[in-house]
Symmetry: C2
Subunit: 270 residues, 2 copies
């Protein structure tokens, strides 16, 4: 299957555009898990099992594992998702970007070692920094376009020939880099007008939209601005608002409730 | 000590602007190391010990470790450099770039876990994606500006208000992001005219220059274009041309010879 086919099947599987971001912060774990050697894996696995029938994909953020030397727990987590929840995609959020020979190593890490279905990457070093990921047929590369952080405008809002840099990136990826149908874009939810601009530029290209929930993005405005004609086209990410919905031992139940509500809210506006 | 003081001391220590890039590729290792469990560490340690009195810094590229699940070997390697070769800087080449809360985790990884002295990062997500690294006083952040790969021009050559994007990044970093004196820039060696342009924009800001050796950059043109008035200001990186100078068991000796020749060639034009 091509990446877009895999993603479309994932959207349909649970009738969901929700992506749950896995940003495990041990300081926020319930007391029962504190100090346990595999706490990061256990916390994430519990969240995954509690929400897997409500999502299209999970997005582990590699920094939260790497800061704790927990690469083996990330491997185990992704293997668990594939084994127990087939059809749900795993996006490794790593925002890679390097020259071809090095990108080959990163591609080996993300696809061969971790077995992820897609990876996030930066466009700053250009097309050949992305090619090694595209060499893995059926895998996806999700390129940073417009990010929702305060400094996102520093470069992305620069005027390049009458439009902003992020709009140029959107067109470059949609028209040139996506020849094999493996690309998508990251567009933050805090600026729905910009999601709409990107959608006009890129046709049906999938968008990964972080920023709802803890970062304050509005679900209705996001979905209306970013959906495709068939009511899909989006992976709408929520991390902290789901992971830490519950303060203590009820965290799985609370996460499930938050994920279910978010999925329904999204579906209301598709 | 501030980052620039540490770097200046490293330049003086061995009278060298040479940075040896550690991109360990097991397929190119001598036969003796093949199949050994700690081969990546052993290969790099041998290169480090053979060249440490000829360099200002070492630059391990994290993808070459991560692709093989060799994070513990990277930890051991950096600890070895600090223990045995004090005063030589370790730049972790990771090209990070993410929102603040995630960048905090990457900063913890690079400085607390690995103990590196500096990290490479992408400017695409703006200033707040860099702040968490700057919170580690005395550590350096080396931002991508002009890269030497074929696709480097895709974004970096875009015209923004009468100059190219990479020139804008150079000015942004030098004038705004470098308030605490912790920043440097990556500028590829394959375009000496562009090194000269960046140097005119950034004053004495340090430049990390990859691309000599295997990538074909010319040492004389690079040094003349990028040196500061005191004959420093540069970390000139060579990876493959030093690591794989020897084809077999003489690799340490061959690496030392290649490093020595490169250092002398650089010094001739300072």
């Amino acid at each position: 299957m091509t990446f877009i086919q895999t993603l479309s099947a994932a959207w349909q599987k649970n009738d969901s555009l929700l992506c749950v971001g896995l940003d495990p912060d041990p300081a926020k774990f319930p007391g029962r898990l504190k100090g346990r050697p595999e706490a990061i894996f256990e916390f994430c696995r519990t969240i995954v099992d509690a929400t897997a029938d409500l999502v299209c994909c999970f997005k582990p953020q590699i920094a939260y594992f790497a800061a704790h030397g927990a690469e083996s727990q990330l491997e185990a987590l992704i293997a668990h998702i594939h084994a127990r929840h087939p059809g749900i995609l795993v996006i490794l959020d790593a925002k890679r970007g390097d020259i071809g020979s090095t990108a080959e190593q990163y591609a080996k890490e993300v696809f061969a070692r971790y077995g992820a279905d897609a990876v996030t990457a930066s466009p700053y070093m250009g097309k050949d920094s992305v090619d090694p990921y595209l060499a893995y047929a059926g895998k996806g590369v999700i390129l940073l376009c417009r990010t929702s952080n305060p400094g996102g405008s520093d470069l992305q809002f620069l005027d390049v020939g009458g439009r902003k840099l992020y709009e140029h990136v959107a067109e470059l990826v949609a028209r040139q880099w996506n020849a094999t149908g493996q690309c998508a874009l990251v567009v933050g939810a805090t600026f729905p007008d910009e999601i709409a601009r990107v959608r006009r530029i890129v046709g049906d290209l999938p968008l990964l939209v972080p920023g709802i929930g803890a970062q304050g993005g509005d679900v209705e405005a996001t979905v209306r601005a970013g959906r495709t004609a068939d009511g899909a086209g989006l992976m709408i990410n929520s991390s902290r608002a789901i992971l830490y919905a519950g303060k203590d031992e009820n965290y799985a139940e609370a996460a499930r409730r938050a994920a279910s509500e978010t999925r329904e809210l999204i579906n209301r506006y598709r």
